[in-house]
Amino acid sequence: MLRLREISSMELTRAHLDRIEQVEGSVRAFVTVTEDEAMREAEHVDQLRREGAKLGPLAGIPIAIKDVLCTKGIVTTCSSRMLEHFKPPFDATVIKKLRAAHAIMLGKTNMDEFAMGSSTENSAFFPTRNPWDLERVPGGSSGGSAAAVAAGEAMASLGSDTGGSVRQPGALTNTVALKPTYGRVSRFGLIAFASSLDQIGPFTRNAQDAALMMQTISGHDPLDSTAMNETVPDYAAALTGDIKGMRIGVPKEYFVEGIEPGVRASVDAAIKQFEALGAEIGECSLPHTKYGIAAYYIIAPAECSANLARYDGVRYGFSARDTSGDIIAAMSETREQGFGAEVKRRIMLGTYALSSGYYDAYYLKAEKVRTLIKQDFDAAFGRFDALICPTTPGVAFKLGAKTADPYTMYLNDVFTIPANLAGICGVSFPGEFSEGLPVGVQLLGPAFGEPTLLRLVDAFQRVTDYHTRMPEVATKRKSAARKRR
């Protein structure tokens, strides 16, 4: 529509800013809305289009950005007191790429502090609510980015996935949420939680949009030595609709007790659908799955304990301005006041796991488990093009339901963590609803298997309509807004 100039980028951006204004009071997906910048950029894109410039498919598309990605001159908080007023002096590589593609940034979205959490309740500012049920969480840590797309506040968004932080909120909000292969997307400018696990991924409403987002953000970056120099395929071209003969594995360890019946039913229905579309379904085993959470909660905190050591109040961010004269005491005070409880818990866990005398028993052991989990996947992908399983054991839970016990919260990521440990790709997409709430179906693919995953999701979406459903908060308010005008 933009290309045909049926609608201008300014109109499209304005419409999304209006939607933000209408629903933010209840959803609270954004930490910062960059209205003026967005309208300026939109005007610029319209100008370019009038001048006949050749523009890419994302030109003029309003996008929301998780507040973990550095945006030059625009406050980037990580939803932490520590960075409440921090304005990065540079753009993350993905932001540079989106700007080059003339995408419009609407603002920065809320998250669990430093991406640690599964409900966005760990934000130092406020929790984000699930647009499908405002009493429930949108998942996390990229809850703001997921909610923004689900509520129609943005056409797409970026999140980051360290143990499921894109896929899990995607599942809970009826969006397509992709965690790319480790090294597919540059991490430069992504504020690190756990460097060996973090990966930036998109939220969209369908597989086609996910393909467009991936096309723009993927690729090698001289600023990130872990971003692999692997050719970026034509993702849109992979969406042929034809999945005949594709082999999909069903890992039995992902269908265990504790999964809500509605979730189980939705995944089973998706499996049947793929079979109906001509895919070959077979069972497989990933025997070390059960050690995933334990290994993750050693490796991720260990890396975070070092990654978050830089927040000392000396160069930027919050500073407690302790004047006792003791430098180390001042740094401690800054960290005491600047970090929330969950962040401190993980820093302590990680510090402990790396300590002399414990390193071998914890960190080294966890790395060994990681290798075993990788080998499990290698074996499975020898037989299958993709694996299918639930994204989460249950649908969106109520705010406060799991905050008392961190361990139950951690269990929410049991099906998403292994992909991060193995560095493979995974996507959560809307399946059959359960009691009016979205259910995410997860597909896991081998390294650089994103085209395969997107082809499967696209084929599924050609014959289903779950992904087209919008929550009431969006539809109702929209009409209300129209009336207001």
Partner: protein, 507 residues
Amino acid sequence: MTTTATPETETMMTAISADYEVVIGLEVHSQLLTASKMFCRCPANYAHAAPNSHCCPICMGFPGVLPVINHQAVEYTIMTALALNCEIPEFSKFDRKNYFYPDLPKGYQISQYDIPLSRNGYLTFTLNGQEKRVGITRVHLEEDTGRLIHLSEGGDPRTLVDLNRAGVPLMEIVSEPDMRSPEEARLYMEKLRSILVYLGVSSGKMEEAALRCDANISVRQRGETKFGVKTEIKNMNSFRAVERALTYEARRQIEELQAGRRIVQATRGWVEERGITVLQRVKEDADDYRYFPEPDLPPLVVSRAWVAEIRERMPELPDAKRTRFVAQYGLSAYDADQLTADRAWADFFEQTLKIGQPYADDAAMQARAKAVANWELGDLRARLNTDAIDITANKITPESLAELITLIERGTISGKQAKEVLEKAYASGERPDAIVAREGISQLSDAGELEGIVEEVIAANPKAVEDYRAGKAASLQFLMGQVMKRSKGRARPDIVTPLLEKRLQQA
């Protein structure tokens, strides 16, 4: 150039070496002469730069930044490791060393822990005419920290942070505890510096902290095989400081033991002005730096082809050059040693020698080589030492020294005159040819004129002539001196001597 032990340290050493043996191992850090920093593109040379003017979000540890390995720094480290006869494993990696300090922007230092770029090498130097070999445990690569500037003026103490140095490539060279005296530690440092400067990887400047030395030192009774409790000595900013500090510390430890006390494992700082080491920190347990593999950097794969290519590009090292100087130029081992200790001195020598080409034969070339070495290590070095001037910064160029030697060889000026010309050229930078021409410095070689002077001298000194004829050979020297005096130093001795002898033999 080579420093010498002060009388003070010599006497101390005699005192400590009787019953006790000193055991020393050194940890040397050298900044590398790369254009940019270790993990970002900021310039690595921060000399004279305003504080915090050579830093960026990466070396300042901003949120979201990532390191990228400086390839040149890795090559320099491999080159150094090869020069130190180390093994270079095919696989290496970086690790995070975690600790909090305001000069460490990320809260961790990217270093190398269990798989360094190289290990198991050695370095040799000459000790009392014999070759001494010291084992090299490892050579690895890391990043430097920033600097803290403590202000205490006006009763308002403040600490400022300068991050220009943060992220500068830093190579660490760890030795085995193979040194047995403070002198050996100094000789090791001198040889190591020489190699680093030869390779062009380090400025070698200890006074600017571009080259730093920490020492582990312990003492034990002679014959004892177990090591004693060691202390770590820091803040030694010159070769002389290394020797003085370790001499002091060895003596202190022995006195403690002799007094029946035990040595406390600790870090001690050398206080140059007071000539003592002082306790800085007692080490109850090993520090826990919680090392773990740096997840932001892929492992380093060092292919054999790469190592071979680096080896190809290595310049000639001091030992090889010394051997060549003896064989090719016929220099004495001592002269060759002195000339090759510092690459700049060796280069100066060879450049000077090259200007005299072509030589009639090897003998002529070697005679010239000896002359160049004598002037460079003699008058020129004395001058440079007095003024503390670097040979590369002095006004005598290889061209002027070659010209000066040619003037002597041709007999235009005498050796004594040459010393004066050198002084003038050293002060003004003027070429010897020009000085000689302008000041009319020349030798008297006209036989007729010289015969006249000889006649005058013989006539004026009948006593000396008589003594000579009576067999007192020394009188000839006296008469020579008189000829030189009458000729105002211009008479060519090689012509005067036979003239005088011939005249004296006549009745």
